[in-house]
């Protein structure tokens, strides 16, 4: 899957006009997939479509789009780990769920201040991901996936069995607060459109911030780790800290989605930690294109809408998710962005 991804990236670089040697070299350095011109264009078109969507969507679909963006945060966080550090996490929902529960409990019992809730949720996820990451990252390959999966399941079971935080019913009746963006400027979450643009704006910032961070020396260490983590220490880098930083960063992004979720749905439940949410995020990034950052967000929109439509006909929409997963792994491992790169990247040489 990753190999195809990398090939797609390099074909993209090679096909450009040679130009000066220095220019060619610098372009080769910027071989990070998230930085290619085509991906920028895809991101821009997606943003435009997203910006006009509420004009046609109506309130139900606008709220669904908010949900897609929130789950897109988990997909983005999966992509940082899988597409850049080469770590497959099957438990990114843990941070979504954790932030959702912390936020819900804060709103219900402590404060109505959004900023305070943001700080608390972000801090708890930060501490938790640092501790879990420090353990999980030492494990390689499938063991990392198993540890992350296991811990997310444990969190899900704990919330399921703890009466004080709602048990299997979860927490309901979470008040919808307003945010004080600036003194004198209050924004109501109750208004769907305001809510939508607020989330869209923040997700854009998260996307741009992530792209910026991964286009640094730090990001190039992650790409090297993905390619051959055993070789990295012999070049003077301790892979542990780079992976851990990527892990904590990814957790924070998933946490943002979780933090907003209770404001959208008014409840939180143990399934938010669950395997279904975690794997769905993996499928979303696969559908969009692993290692592209924008792909997972697109994937999230596609999967969320598809699920909602299919879900109104049948309870067994998970079957569809499974089929999509298999089809993409087999025929389109570099996702829709990879397909776009191969289709629109005119005159691209395809490597054997």
């Amino acid at each position: 899957m990753l190999q195809a991804q990398q090939q797609a990236q390099t074909t993209d670089i090679e096909s450009r006009p040679a130009g000066t040697v220095a220019g060619r070299l610098l372009r080769a350095v910027r071989s990070g997939g998230s930085n290619s011109t085509l991906l920028r264009q895809i991101a821009l078109v997606s943003l435009l479509l997203a910006a006009i969507f509420p004009l046609f969507g109506g309130s139900f679909f606008t709220r669904l789009a908010i949900e897609a963006l929130l789950f897109g945060c988990i997909a983005l966080s999966v992509d940082i780990l899988l597409g850049y550090a080469g770590l497959l996490s099957l438990g990114q929902a843990a941070y979504f769920g954790l932030a959702a529960y912390v936020a819900a409990l804060m709103y219900l019992h402590v404060t109505q201040s959004f900023w305070l809730v943001l700080l608390t949720a972000s801090a708890s996820v930060g501490v938790f991901s640092f501790l879990l990451g420090a353990v999980a990252i030492r494990a390689k390959g499938v063991y990392f996936a198993l540890i992350t999966f296991g811990v997310a399941e444990i969190l899900s079971k704990i919330t399921h069995n703890t009466r004080a935080i709602g048990g299997s019913d979860g927490l309901i009746g979470i008040p919808v607060p307003s945010i004080r963006l600036l003194p004198g400027l209050e924004i109501e979450f109750a208004n769907n459109y305001v809510f939508y643009y607020l989330v869209l704006g923040t997700v854009c910032l998260l996307y741009l911030g992530t792209r910026r961070i991964l286009n640094t020396a730090f990001g190039s260490v992650l790409r090297a780790i993905r390619d051959n983590s055993d070789r990295v220490p012999y070049l003077g880098y301790n892979p542990f800290w780079y992976k851990l930083l990527a892990y904590v960063m990814a957790a924070q992004i998933a946490a943002f989605g979780g933090l907003i979720y209770p404001l959208l749905r008014g409840f939180v439940a143990p399934h938010l930690f669950g395997f279904e949410v975690s794997t769905k995020a993996v499928v979303m990034s696969l559908v969009g294109g692993v290692g592209t950052l924008i792909g997972p967000l697109m994937g999230s929109v596609i999967i969320t809408f598809l699920e909602s439509v299919v879900g109104s006909y049948t309870e067994r929409h998970l079957i569809l998710l499974g089929i999509i997963f298999i089809v993409f792994v087999m025929f389109l491992p570099d996702g829709l962005c990879g397909l776009a790169q191969r289709t629109f990247g005119a005159g691209r040489k395809v490597k054997p």
Partner: protein, 247 residues
């Protein structure tokens, strides 16, 4: 430059390296030879921080570096290559070398945008020219010929501006012509860096080494300049086999 004192390592009942001591002199080529299973690679792994020794010490310019992790040794100036080509196959040749150069940058520049971090690119370009790899700078390392990949192996080691260059069978799987090129290349590096070499190609070893260590069954069997090694009956018997000894 690098001194190994009484180094031992066992895997279960097998004593892979048994009380090994030697010293590699600055800016010289020191080679370790020996039949398969003599413990050469284990000794390398102990020195380069891949494995921890059971006992004994490794000193770099008089400082104890025993059991230091590989990434710290690399910072201290010990670069190693691998017997089985171990590169970033999905990245370009330039990016492989640039990435190695980047590790010399100050740590607080790690969030600098890559296109503003030009020193490693410049240095990598120079290294590629020196190693005759500038033509294939943009190619994926995975698509290079085996000989060129072995060259990149040495290039990314040199990109670290090491004091000690440890080469694990650099001519592994190479044609005689390619071997001759590597021969010249290693010789040209020897003035700048201390070379520690494991090699199967006896002609190459005898040709370029200043000092040879012969290992046999985990122990040091013999040590001396190439002509003495060639003359030693014990070495002939252990390494070249009984028929050579008789001849």
């Amino acid at each position: 430059m690098i001194r190994v004192i009484d180094l031992s390592k066992s895997f279960g009942a097998l004593r892979a390296v048994n009380h090994l001591s030697f010293e590699a002199m600055p800016n010289c080529i020191t080679s370790i030879i020996g039949p398969n299973g003599a413990g050469k690679s284990t000794a390398f792994n102990l020195i380069a921080g891949t494995l921890r020794p059971d006992s004994g010490r490794v000193e770099l310019e008089g400082h104890d570096v025993t059991g230091e992790p590989a990434y710290r040794l690399a910072k201290l100036g010990v670069a190693r290559s691998f017997q089985i080509t171990n590169l970033f196959f999905g990245l370009s040749v330039l990016e492989n070398v640039r990435f190695a150069c980047q590790s010399l940058e100050s740590r607080n520049r790690f969030l600098t945008r890559l296109d503003r971090l030009s020193a490693p690119v410049r240095r990598a370009t120079e290294i590629l020219e020196e190693f005759g790899l500038d033509e294939s700078a943009d190619q994926l390392v995975g698509n290079l010929s085996h000989g060129d990949q072995r060259r990149v192996e040495i290039a990314i080691c040199m990109a670290l501006t090491p004091r000690v260059l440890m080469l694990d069978e650099p001519t592994q799987g190479m044609s005689p012509a390619e071997t001759a090129e590597i021969d010249t290349l290693i010789k040209s590096l020897a003035g700048r860096v201390t070379v520690l070499l494991i090699e199967h190609d006896i002609d190459l070893v005898m040709n370029i080494s200043d000092h040879v260590i012969v290992m046999h069954q985990g122990r040091k069997l013999f040590e001396g300049p190439p002509n003495e090694v060639r003359a030693s009956p014990a070495v002939r018997e252990a390494y070249l086999g009984a028929e050579h000894a008789a001849a």
